[in-house]
Subunit: 237 residues, 2 copies
């Protein structure tokens, strides 16, 4: 098998946009490494059917006999499997430090974002995916409806904006989270914003937030502008 | 001049303990690199006198003609100035990622810790340092007294414990913040706890917090146990 055999199964919405932040991470990882791949678009209910129930979420990345189902596993695997390509991680210390960033970003930014955009995701999904999405996500919130989960979402926007303060402080010093060049920490954060931008009916960022806007612009220009198809307009009020 | 000329000016309390978290970072940086150095203990009011007003805070590190006054400047300088010693940072990406960690840790953990321990610091300082400490710190809080700053401190302890959740999540995967080996992120966090341990009259951590305790034990054993002289008992209830 060759690099060209790589297939990345992604999650798409009714309008065809790629939505999953964890798929976006892998798209950027593959682009960073210059690896060609085929994108396979799936809706929520297609995923278990496609993998005979073995996988319920994407990303799923396959090539040859290999099937990988976790974005971190995929990222680390790609460096090991394709050593002739640009490294995602320069060494184990960088992996650990990006993991530490993710350990902060996940509960502090990603989880609260779901409380703002859960209903937007539902409404943006293909009609045939909506009942499954509602049922599975409401079950995770002990039966709270998507409407209840997002009831106070307007008040949560300033909380997220404030939670991004460490990124702004860092970006006053460096153009990228990774320093002078983007690294997987940038892809993690960017993927969260691409997720929001794919579904948002409520602007997340203040239009005066020049630091985050400049960083987003820099990152959206990377790798041939693969993130631009998500359009960033709904991110800013 | 030689490595042996390195002097590190530190802040000491009435009982002689080293207290400044930024000095602790440098002590660990020097130990990591195996660089011998002379510690020069100063109280708060000694610092401007010693440096003719040019420096009001420590760390101050000097060797030969070089004087450095910021813990990050010192850390980066040591790698450049002593290339034959173990690197603190493997490459610029690691520097950026540790800076990103610090950009989160400073406002989320270090700043709130001052709101808990400001009066303990005052009471632990040498008697001749206390009026200066009170006056200078109260001025930073727009005239609020140290007693007012710390009035609700008991309720802030659970906030700090919760704020450490990303560290616990990370330490479920790795023995150190830096991964399989300690890096400057470990020294940054450890230095915060050594600061608390040098002055605390209120336990910061839950005695059942096995993850943080194991990490602290691992770090206190590093480099000949240089942190042990701060004794960790007051950290746990």
């Amino acid at each position: 098998m060759t690099k060209a055999d790589i297939k990345l199964y992604e999650l798409v919405l009714e309008n065809g946009r790629s939505s999953s932040p964890f798929v976006w991470r892998v798209r950027y990882a593959l682009a960073h490494k210059g690896l060609p791949f085929e994108l396979v678009p799936l809706g929520f209910v297609d995923i278990p059917k496609t993998f005979n129930g073995a996988c319920k979420t994407v990303p799923v990345l396959t090539y040859g006999e290999v099937t990988l189902t976790d974005s971190w596993d995929i990222a680390e695997h790609l460096d090991a499997a394709f050593p002739g390509t640009p490294a995602l991680f320069s060494n184990p210390a960088e992996i650990a430090m990006v993991r530490l960033f993710d350990a902060w970003f996940a509960p502090t930014v990603m989880r609260p974002l779901f409380g703002i955009y859960a209903l937007d995701i539902h409404d943006s999904a293909r009609p045939e995916d909506r009942p499954y999405f509602r049922q599975s996500r409401e079950a995770r919130f002990k039966g709270k409806t998507l409407e209840q989960i997002t009831a106070n979402r307007v008040s949560q926007v300033p909380v997220i904006r404030e939670a991004l303060a460490p990124l702004r402080a860092h970006l006053a010093r460096f153009p990228y989270l990774g320093g002078t060049a983007p690294n997987y920490a940038d892809y993690i954060a960017l993927s969260g914003f691409l997720w929001v931008a794919s579904v948002s009916t409520l602007p997340l960022l203040d239009k005066a937030d020049d630091v985050m806007r400049a960083w987003l612009d820099r990152n959206l220009d990377l790798h041939g502008g693969i993130g631009h198809d998500a359009r960033m307009k709904p991110l800013f009020d």
